[in-house]
């Protein structure tokens, strides 16, 4: 998927939650079991170090209900589900599926809170928004009896740190930050090893043919990784400012474009190298000129990078919660997930969707095998977690100074 990724990342900036603010009520605290939780500003935030089991805000729907009829409403990013998948679901359940779209997670939550949007199922939110979804009581607990394909999910993601036990969410796709490049251009791939690989973007030979993400945390973190720093949620102003300064050097060296369009620009041949998300290059196959060899696309990411996933959730005000469960289950089916991948590009978070399968079934070129995020590599990646407001503002200030030129 493309544009929404920026927004996903953008949303992470919204995750400052009141430093050392009011402690949770004892009742709520007692409801949180299984691992430590961090309470800030009355929000329940899980981190990889302090995973969280969220309290149930209501009972899940009962077992054995028949799927509803009529129009089933999905709230999703634009172009983030394959129309063929939609058609197959509609045909199987005899319903019509209506998609409303959002561009940022912040926008989505605002509209859902205000009631401007009513939907049954939401696709594309990330762990960074989990606490807000809970605080606004926008999501309802899932009934696993409708999710017979749940076991297909990558085992490490069946119990995610932001929602232990997957009580409210089901992982959808996974991806990693890395460098997308053209294999048919003069790109020095020998540097792609360890953190040194990030320096490729500072190589002036790519001047005018490079890009970085228009996402302050991803781009600043890339700069930090290059310098051997791995605390992607740091509150150290000096570290973030140094990263911003490095990015300014990057502008001097290669004058990159700052956007989220590498999934188009690299396939089109307008860009040789760029910081992008792994899914961008997988999706990029669809943007190659007709007849072009997909092996011109390459992707590299080191162990020290950002990995992430987004998820499905059923909304509290869903009028068709059974269908919502059915749709999640439908997309947890390997065949349907593969069909969806051919359109959205991003890698389904399913154990069976291996490199071999993607090559065999979806024609992913071998040059893009490195864009596939294995469960091990997903686990080893760094996670962008919520920042407290002051820290988040500091990151934004540094980015704003950088973009101001």
């Amino acid at each position: 998927m493309r544009a929404h990724h920026l927004n996903r990342r953008r949303f992470i900036q919204l995750t400052g939650w009141g430093l050392g603010a009011a402690a949770l009520s004892p009742a709520l605290l007692s409801a949180c079991g299984g691992g430590a939780s961090e309470s800030t500003g009355g929000l329940l935030i899980g981190t990889p170090d302090t995973p969280i089991r969220l309290p149930l805000n209501r009972d899940p729907i009962a077992d054995g209900l028949a799927p509803e009829s009529g129009t089933f409403r999905v709230y999703n990013y634009a172009d983030y589900v394959n129309p063929d998948v939609v058609e197959a679901f509609e045909s199987q359940y005899g319903v019509s599926l209506e998609i409303s779209t959002y561009t940022t997670e912040e926008e989505a939550i605002t509209k859902l809170r205000s009631g401007a949007i009513e939907a049954d199922l939401m696709i594309g939110m990330t762990d960074a928004s989990m606490a807000l979804l809970m605080a606004a009581q926008l999501v309802q607990p899932l009934n696993r009896s409708y999710l017979s394909n749940f076991a297909n999910i990558i085992s490490g993601l069946q119990d995610p740190y932001y929602d232990l036990g997957s009580q409210y969410t089901v992982p959808h796709v996974i991806y990693a930050d890395g460098i997308g490049y053209r294999t048919d251009r003069d790109v020095d791939t020998t540097v792609f090893a360890g953190r040194e690989g990030w320096s490729a973007l500072w190589d002036s030979r790519y001047r005018g043919r490079a890009g970085i993400l228009d996402s302050y945390r991803d781009s600043l973190c890339m700069s930090m990784f290059r310098n051997g720093l791995t605390d992607v949620n740091t509150s150290d102003r000096a570290v973030v400012e140094a990263a911003g300064s490095d990015l300014a050097d990057l502008v001097q060296a290669v004058n990159p474009q700052i956007d989220i369009l590498s999934y188009q620009e690299i396939p089109a041949g307008n860009r040789d190298i760029a910081l992008c998300w792994s899914g961008d290059m997988l999706a990029g196959q669809g943007f190659l000129p007709e007849g072009a060899d997909p092996s011109v696309l390459g992707f590299w990411y080191p162990p020290e990078t950002i990995t992430a996933n987004d998820f499905f959730c059923v909304l509290t005000r869903a009028t068709k919660p059974v269908l919502a469960h059915c749709f999640i289950n439908f997309l947890l089916d390997v065949d349907n997930a593969l069909l969806n991948q051919t359109y959205v590009g991003y890698q389904p978070a399913l154990e069976a969707v291996t490199s071999d399968l993607l090559i065999e079934r979806n024609g992913v070129p071998e040059s893009l095998l490195s864009a596939l995020v294995t469960p091990d590599r997903y686990r080893s990646g760094r996670r962008l977690v919520n920042l407290v407001p002051e820290v988040d503002e500091m990151w934004i200030d540094v980015w704003s100074e950088f973009t101001a030129g």
């Binding site: 953008r10 900036q13 089109a268 101001a404």
Partner: protein, 299 residues
């Protein structure tokens, strides 16, 4: 006491009453939004959802964020953005005048069907969405685009879309040119051409007639067209977004877009909107004073 009797009461109500719809329109769609922006700029932020919380009572406004933004505009990173934006707008307006004035002049000298056809030909391309036209530019100017490849044949190998100041200025000119030409044309079309003939009869060269007759009499049109394009150019962000996407060409509109749409600091975006509005109000005041002076001179 004057000898005139005062107008009947119904007429005293009727004529001012005609201004009521316009006044209401302005109140609803200008005054209220402007006040709301101020309430956001000087308001608070929801501690949980990070939404801007407007504070409607001016007595409760807080100015800490606003003063921070103002400090940045005066002596911080935003100063260069403001200066760059001003430079782009001045350059784009100047270029628009150089291109647009002869076109408007030529159109005004035509008559009948020919004039109508030429006017239509000028306007028709602008029926296509600005966004689509800019995207066409992107396709043409990207490294593998038709225009870039063609120019390379002549040894012109430019990175048009990577923070190129010229591209952004040309994009602004391209987008706003018709809005300069039309008021200029309206101004020139009303010009009494007999004055120019008289000047020529009295020995003035064509350039002297232009400088001393045509240009002064079209000043109101120039001022109107200039203001009409300069105001939106100052707030423009998509031209730079589409044609550059580089910090080297960041405009003030891009910073507003970032703060409002891509950060949790909407109040800073609102403050920037106010700062820009204040700046533009000064430009507008200049325009109004200038217009009044031109009218005085004309009468």
């Amino acid at each position: 006491m004057s000898g005139q009797s005062s107008p009947p009461a119904d007429r005293r109500i009727f004529w001012p009453g005609l201004a009521l719809p316009g006044s209401l329109w302005l109140a609803i769609f200008f005054v209220v939004p402007a006040y709301t922006i101020a309430c956001v700029a000087f308001g608070q932020v929801d501690p949980i959802f990070r939404d801007a919380v407007p504070v409607w009572n001016p007595l409760q406004w807080q100015f800490s964020d606003a003063s921070e933004v103002l400090g940045s505009v005066v002596g911080g990173p935003l100063r260069s953005v403001f200066l760059r934006t001003s430079f782009y707008v001045i350059a784009a307006v100047a270029l628009s005048l150089i291109i647009g004035y002869p076109i408007a002049y030529y159109l005004a000298r035509q008559e009948g069907v020919r004039r109508t056809i030429l006017l239509a030909l000028m306007v028709i391309p602008f029926w296509v969405s600005f966004l689509m036209r800019l995207l066409a530019w992107v396709n043409l100017l990207e490294p593998e685009g038709l225009a870039s490849r063609f120019l390379r044949l002549f040894g012109i190998d430019q990175q048009w879309l990577n923070g190129n100041h010229l591209t952004v200025i040309l994009g602004l000119v391209y987008g706003y040119l018709p809005f300069l030409i039309l008021p200029l044309y309206a101004s020139l079309e009303r010009l009494d051409w007999r004055l120019i003939e008289a000047a020529r009869d009295l020995g003035a060269s064509s350039s002297q007639a232009f400088r001393r007759i045509t240009l002064p009499l079209s000043r109101a049109g120039i001022a109107a067209g200039t203001v009409l394009i300069a105001l939106p150019m100052f707030g423009d962000y998509y031209t730079n977004d589409l044609l550059s996407r580089s910090p080297r060409t960041e405009m003030i509109g891009n910073q507003i877009d970032f703060f409002v749409n891509a950060s949790s600091q909407k109040q800073k975006g609102a403050t920037l909107v106010l700062v820009l509005a204040l700046f533009l109000a000064l430009v507008m005041s200049w325009y109004l004073i200038r217009l009044a002076r031109v009218r005085r001179e004309a009468s």
